[in-house]
Amino acid sequence: MFSILRDLLRFNVEFLIGFLLTGTIFLFAAAHFFAPYPDTAIYLLPPDMPPSAEFWLGTTSRGQDVFWQISGAIWNTMTFGLTVMILSRIVALAVGMVSGYLGGKADEVLMTINDTLIALPNIPILLLVYFVMRDQMTWPLLALTAALLGWNYDARLIRSVTLSLRNREFTRHAVFAGMSVPQVLIRQHLPYVMPVVFFTAMNNLIWAIGLEVTLSVLGFSDVNRPTVGGMIYWANQHQAAVSGIWWWLVFPIVAVVLLFLGLFLLAISINEYIDPRSRLSRMGG
């Protein structure tokens, strides 16, 4: 694992940039633990202060420090994304591996359900869930809903890998050696499936963070918990663009765009590392 990281850093510029970007943003987000003000407090500071030596990125109309707000917001947004990612990976792995390994009727049934879920539109369903939950909507509940909507494409991918492993010699050996189905799946197949899981995890993380930003921009989450989308929501509520408080809008946007860029660079370089075909084209280049 460590040597893979070293190789990627040394020989893949995209990974290096992505790693540095994401790392910096992560450190910046982690810094919110040392923030001088609690991040949910409002009207603590003089409102609408432009960026200055005292308030590096200015203050909001709600009397918050933009710098520390973004720091806490990115931490919360990333926590949300990681939660969705882990939950949906668990579902995708379970469904994909079981479906691919069992094959036959079970596979057909699971994949029909899977394809049905793929055809359901995400945003309207999430909005419907928010609509009926309203004030009882918490971020873990939102994460759970998003996770339940975000596993089906990847389950299909994992299934196809497992399907190809099923007919390999070592699977038959393991079965003859008396290993149970969960044992075969976890000990024999999981190592082969992990690279796929890892790659889909990056894409899923990006998707989940995008979803969080989108929903909280509309105010469809716990708006008192600072998130990147939540900051933009409050800025819009206070007409920040019209009243010239540009720092309230621009800095969160810059932060989230950098975060997306960093994660995206990580995702494509990891994919390139994992995918043998792109390895081959690199040899040619």
């Binding site: 055809a119 309207p124 909005l127 009926v132 939950m133 995008g210 509309l218 075909r277």
Partner: protein
């Protein structure tokens, strides 16, 4: 022909299943949630003063009937199916007594116009760029434009739209940033009105194109770089077939087939595809209607739009499944 019939049967079954599960899901979400829509509406209304207990009780009963919350759980479920099949979601609460369906129908042309156009543009551009980038791998210009559309692709539509809005609405205010057409114009096929519609649609459409193009690009490029190593392409190269013919007839043509399914999915997603963009630019389509419904607690409107969006995607997928055999001989003559 037997294989073809089997194909059709499978697709039809899948279609029925999507509709069934989707509509049931919408029902379950709304009916199993701990929040009672009747109580919620009642409390929304009593906030404004009407606290006479008798009128509250009447209101409660009227709302229960409106929402189809009378009878047992199963009766409610059947009643809900009845409404879906009749396309009748009752009157809208926020624009009482206009039926939800006529609100949706009023907003639909805006969304269909905006979404169809921008999906088609991003599909064509993304596939063209992706196919070229997958085939001519060493072309620097293609690599750069590919990097640009790929970097834009994960950024949420709202952020891209907001950047465009700030740029063309505040920094360099040249385009309208709100609404579907100028307010004082009479809707119709007048030059002024159509022109206004186009100008108002530019920023929302640009947002949707910029956000959408990346995923087409990425999937097309990977499809093409797989096909390029297929035997039939290598063989055509060895046969001295011109690279234009190889690109169009041997590579792009084969790679486009799976992309058509994606196109149908995107087009079917008229109700959900442009929600965020429409809201941001205050565009009078179905997406804005949905968000307004949520803000104003309009239960029947939200349920109506959500259910319709599930049905629309299912229909689109089914239609492309029916058309697919006409395009791909391997399915048609299986």
């Amino acid at each position: 022909m037997d294989g073809f019939a089997k194909y059709l049967a499978r697709r039809f079954l899948q279609f029925i299943l999507v509709i069934f599960l989707g509509v049931s899901l919408a029902f379950l979400i709304t009916h199993l949630s701990p929040v009672d829509p009747v109580e919620q509406s009642v409390s929304l209304m009593t906030n404004f003063g009407a606290t006479d207990p008798r009128s509250v009780a009447l209101l409660r009963e009227a709302l229960s009937e409106l929402y189809g919350l009378q009878g047992s759980f199963f009766e409610q479920y059947l009643a809900f199916w009845g409404r879906v099949l009749h396309g009748d979601f009752g009157p809208s609460l926020s624009s009482f007594p206009t039926p939800v369906m006529s609100l949706i129908m009023g907003a639909l042309p805006w969304t269909v116009g905006l979404l169809t156009l921008s999906v088609l543009i991003s599909w064509c551009l993304g596939n063209l760029l992706g196919a070229l980038a997958g085939y001519f791998r060493s072309n620097l210009l293609l690599k750069l434009s590919g990097a640009a559309v790929m970097a834009l692709h994960p950024v949420p539509a709202y952020i891209v739209g907001l950047l465009l809005l700030l740029t063309f609405g505040f920094v360099w205010p040249v385009l309208p940033i709100s609404g579907g057409a100028q307010m004082n114009l009479q809707p119709g096929f007048s030059l002024a009105f159509v022109g206004s519609v186009i100008v108002h649609g530019l920023l929302p459409a640009l947002t949707l194109v910029l956000v959408g193009i990346g995923s087409w690009f990425i999937s097309m490029r990977s499809l093409v770089s797989n096909i390029v190593t297929d035997d039939h392409v290598v063989y055509a190269e060895l046969g001295g077939v011109s690279s234009g013919t190889i690109f169009s007839q041997y590579v792009a043509r084969n790679a486009l087939l799976p992309q058509l399914t994606g196109l149908a999915l995107s087009l079917g997603n008229v109700f959900g595809g442009a929600v965020i963009t429409e809201f941001l630019f205050n565009y009078p389509g179905v997406g804005r209607l949905l968000i307004q419904g949520i803000y104003s607690g309009d239960y029947s409107l939200v349920l109506g739009v959500t259910t319709m969006s599930i049905v629309a995607v299912a229909v689109a997928v089914f239609v492309i499944d029916l058309l697919y055999p006409l395009i791909d001989p391997r399915v048609r003559l299986g």
